[in-house]
C-alpha cells in the first residue's frame, strides 16, 4: 500500500513538474514584462529630464525670435535629446603619411620617409571655450644625430563670444590659401603638397598671437589678427634654404619668436554658392626687430594670395595665386655680396588643378588629378651695385598627374608623376599612404 502511495506520489510529482515549470516560465515572462515596462518608464523620465536640460540653453535664442505657440513646446521638447551630452569634451585626432620618392633620372636618390605623424587634442571647457593643440614629428626620429624634428603645430585657445565672433589666442595656422589650414593627407591631391603652397606660402604656416573670425552673412567669412612675423636675421646667404622657400627660411613658428615687430593679417572668403569658394588674404609685418648692427631693420615681409575652388558633382577644380615681397633689403644684401643666396625682393607662384572622381563604391573612391604649377622663389632682387648681384631665378614649372585612392573616409593611397620644366633631374615618381581621423 505504502509502495503504491509512494509510486503514485512520484508519478504525480513527475506529471506535475512540467506544469510547475510552465507556471514558473509564465511568472518569469510576466516579471520580464514588468521590468521592461519599468525600464520604459525610467527611460521616459530620463528623456523628459534631458529635454528640460536641452531646452534651457535654447531660451536666449528663443527670446530673440517671435514667441512660439505654447502647444508647440512640449512636442519638440519631448523629442529633443541633449546633443552636447553625446559628445566627449576631449577629442583626439591624428594624421600621418609615409612617402616614397623615386627620381626617374637618378635611381640612387630614391627615398622613403615617414614624412609626418601628428597627434591632435581638442578639449572643450564649455560650450564656447576650447583649446586646440597638434603635436607633430617629422622624418620619424628626432634626436641630435637625426634629421627629424618635433614641433607643436598649433596650440591655441578659442572662445566664441555671444555676438558670434570667435577669438583665439596662442599659436595658430594663418588663414592663407587652400592648403595651410587643411593640410591632412586626405585633404589634398598628390603624394607631396603642392610647391606654391610650400615654397611661396610656407605651409604649415603658423604664428603666435591673437585672431578674430566672424561672418558677414551671404556666405562671407573673415579672419584677422595680430601675430608674430618673420625674423630676417635668420637669413643664411650661404645656404640654399632661402632659395627653396624664402619664408620657410625665416619663419619663427612660436619658438622664442622675436616680437619687436608684429604682423597683421586679414582674410576674406566667400562660399555663397554651394561647391564654390573664392577668397584671398594679406599678411604684412616688419622683420628686422630693431636688431643692433643689422642692416635689414626696415625690411617688411608682405604676402598676398587669391584662391578659388569649385566642386561641382564629381569634379574638384582649384586655382591659387600667391605673391610675396620683402622690401628694403638693399643694405642687407650689400652685406651678403659673394654669397649665393641674397634675400629676394619678390617671389611668386600660381597653380591650376583639376580632379575627377572617376569611380566609387561603398568603400573606395578613385580620383585621378592633374596639376600645373609655376613658381619662382627669387623672382627679383633689390638693386645692388653692378656686377655684385646674383641673377634672378627662372620660373620653375611643374606638371603633376596621378590619383588618390580613398579607402573609407580616413585612409588614402596616392601615386603620381611629377615633371619639372627647368631642373629636369628632379622628375620623379611618388607613392604615398596617408590617414587622418
Amino acid at each position: 500500500m505504502k509502495q503504491r502511495i509512494l509510486s503514485a506520489a512520484l508519478a504525480a510529482a513527475f506529471l506535475a513538474a512540467p506544469a510547475a515549470a510552465l507556471a514558473q516560465d509564465t511568472d518569469l515572462a510576466k516579471r520580464v514584462e514588468q521590468l521592461a515596462a519599468e525600464l520604459e518608464k525610467v527611460k521616459a523620465e530620463l528623456a523628459a529630464q534631458r529635454a528640460q536640460a536641452a531646452a534651457a540653453p535654447a531660451q536666449p535664442v528663443q527670446a530673440a525670435q517671435p514667441v512660439q505657440p505654447a502647444v508647440t513646446a512640449p512636442a519638440a521638447a519631448a523629442a529633443a535629446a541633449p546633443a552636447a551630452a553625446l559628445a566627449s569634451d576631449t577629442v583626439f585626432s591624428g594624421y600621418g603619411e609615409v612617402n616614397y620618392n623615386h627620381p626617374v633620372r637618378n635611381a640612387s636618390g630614391a627615398q622613403t620617409d615617414l614624412r609626418r605623424a601628428v597627434i591632435g587634442i581638442q578639449h572643450r571647457f564649455d560650450e564656447k571655450t576650447k583649446v586646440v593643440a597638434e603635436f607633430e614629428w617629422e622624418h620619424a626620429i628626432a634626436s641630435a644625430e637625426d634629421s627629424g624634428e618635433s614641433a607643436i603645430e598649433q596650440m591655441y585657445v578659442e572662445r566664441e563670444f555671444n555676438n558670434g565672433l570667435r577669438g583665439k589666442a596662442g599659436l595658430f595656422l594663418m588663414p592663407v590659401g587652400l592648403l595651410n589650414q587643411n593640410h591632412e593627407p586626405t585633404a589634398y591631391y598628390g603624394v607631396e603638397r603642392n610647391f606654391v603652397e610650400t615654397a611661396i606660402i610656407p605651409t604649415t604656416w603658423r604664428e603666435a598671437g591673437i585672431g578674430l573670425s566672424g561672418e558677414f552673412g551671404d556666405g562671407f567669412t573673415w579672419d584677422t589678427g595680430l601675430t608674430t612675423g618673420f625674423d630676417l636675421t635668420k637669413w643664411d646667404p650661404a645656404s640654399g634654404e632661402g632659395r627653396e622657400s624664402p619664408l620657410g627660411a625665416i619663419h619663427q613658428e612660436g619658438q622664442l619668436a622675436k616680437s619687436r615687430n608684429l604682423a597683421v593679417h586679414g582674410a576674406l572668403n566667400w562660399r555663397g554658392v554651394p561647391g564654390l569658394l573664392v577668397g584671398g588674404s594679406v599678411f604684412t609685418g616688419e622683420a628686422g626687430h630693431k636688431t643692433p648692427d643689422f642692416a635689414g631693420n626696415d625690411a617688411r615681409v608682405t604676402m598676398a594670395e587669391l584662391h578659388t575652388r569649385y566642386t561641382p558633382g564629381a569634379w574638384d577644380l582649384s586655382a591659387l595665386w600667391a605673391y610675396g615681397r620683402i622690401s628694403n633689403t638693399e643694405a642687407l644684401n650689400a652685406t651678403f655680396v659673394g654669397n649665393p643666396t641674397p634675400v629676394p625682393s619678390s617671389f611668386a607662384g600660381w597653380y591650376l588643378q583639376a580632379a575627377y572622381k572617376l569611380w566609387q563604391n561603398a568603400d573606395y573612391a578613385l580620383t585621378p588629378f592633374a596639376r600645373f604649377e609655376s613658381f619662382n622663389t627669387a623672382r627679383t632682387y633689390a638693386q645692388v651695385p653692378a656686377g655684385l648681384g646674383v641673377p634672378t631665378a627662372p620660373y620653375e614649372r611643374v606638371g603633376t598627374v596621378g590619383a588618390n585612392l580613398m579607402i573609407g573616409q580616413g585612409v588614402v593611397l596616392k601615386a603620381d608623376y611629377q615633371k619639372f620644366r627647368e631642373d629636369k633631374t628632379l622628375d620623379r615618381v611618388n607613392l604615398g599612404v596617408g590617414f587622418a581621423y
Binding site: 536666449p60 512636442a75 560650450e127 558670434g164 597683421v264 561647391g275 573616409q409
Partner: protein
C-alpha cells in the same frame, strides 16, 4: 599708431551682430519648417529589426539607432509632415540638425540647430541647405558629389550631415511615408 590693429580688433569684438552657436531651438525649427501648422505632436518612432535592415538598404548606411526623435506637424487633423531631430559628428564636434519631411518622405527642409566646429559653419547657408529640398532616399541624389555640392574647407561636416539626411530620408520612407 602701433596699437591701431589692436583697437580695431577690440572694436570688432564689441560691435559685431548677435548670433550664437545654438542657432535654433527644436521649437523654432519646426515652426520654420511648417509655418502653417497649428499643432505639433511627438511621434516617437522605434524601428523593428526588419525596418532597420530596410533603412540600411535604402541609405547604404548603418541605421545607427532604432529610436528616432520625430515630431508630427498638423493643421487641424491634417498631417503636414514630420520633423526628425538628429546629431552627427562634423570633424570633431556634434552638429545638431533637423530634417523636415513631407508625408511622402521627400525632404522639405534642413535646418542646422547647433554647430560647434571652428570652421565650416557655412553649412548653415540657405543656398547649401536648399540643395536637399525635394530629394528622397529613392531619388539617389542625397550624396556629396551626386546631387549635393560640398563646401570647401568643411568636407567632413558636409559629408556627415548629407549622410545623416539620407539616413533620415530612408527612415521616413520605411516607417513614416504614406
Amino acid at each position: 599708431m602701433r596699437y591701431v590693429p589692436l583697437t580695431v580688433l577690440a572694436a570688432c569684438a564689441v560691435t559685431a551682430p548677435a548670433f550664437a552657436t545654438q542657432y535654433l531651438s527644436p521649437e523654432q525649427a519646426e515652426k520654420l519648417m511648417f509655418p502653417e501648422a497649428d499643432a505639433f505632436r511627438p511621434h516617437p518612432l522605434a524601428l523593428d529589426t526588419a525596418q532597420m535592415r530596410q533603412v540600411e538598404q535604402a541609405s547604404g548606411l548603418p541605421t545607427r539607432s532604432a529610436q528616432w526623435r520625430v515630431v508630427g506637424a498638423y493643421k487641424g487633423d491634417t498631417l503636414l509632415g514630420y520633423m526628425v531631430l538628429d546629431d552627427v559628428i562634423g570633424k570633431f564636434e556634434l552638429i545638431s540638425y533637423a530634417v523636415g519631411l513631407n508625408p511622402d518622405a521627400t525632404v522639405r527642409q534642413v535646418e542646422i540647430l547647433a554647430y560647434r566646429e571652428s570652421h565650416g559653419s557655412e553649412i548653415r547657408l540657405p543656398a547649401w541647405r536648399r540643395q536637399f529640398v525635394g530629394k528622397s532616399a529613392r531619388s539617389g541624389d542625397l550624396r556629396i558629389g551626386a546631387g549635393i555640392n560640398n563646401i570647401s574647407g568643411a568636407t567632413l561636416s558636409c559629408t556627415h550631415v548629407t549622410d545623416g539626411v539620407r539616413r533620415i530620408a530612408a527612415v521616413a520612407q520605411v516607417a513614416l511615408a504614406r
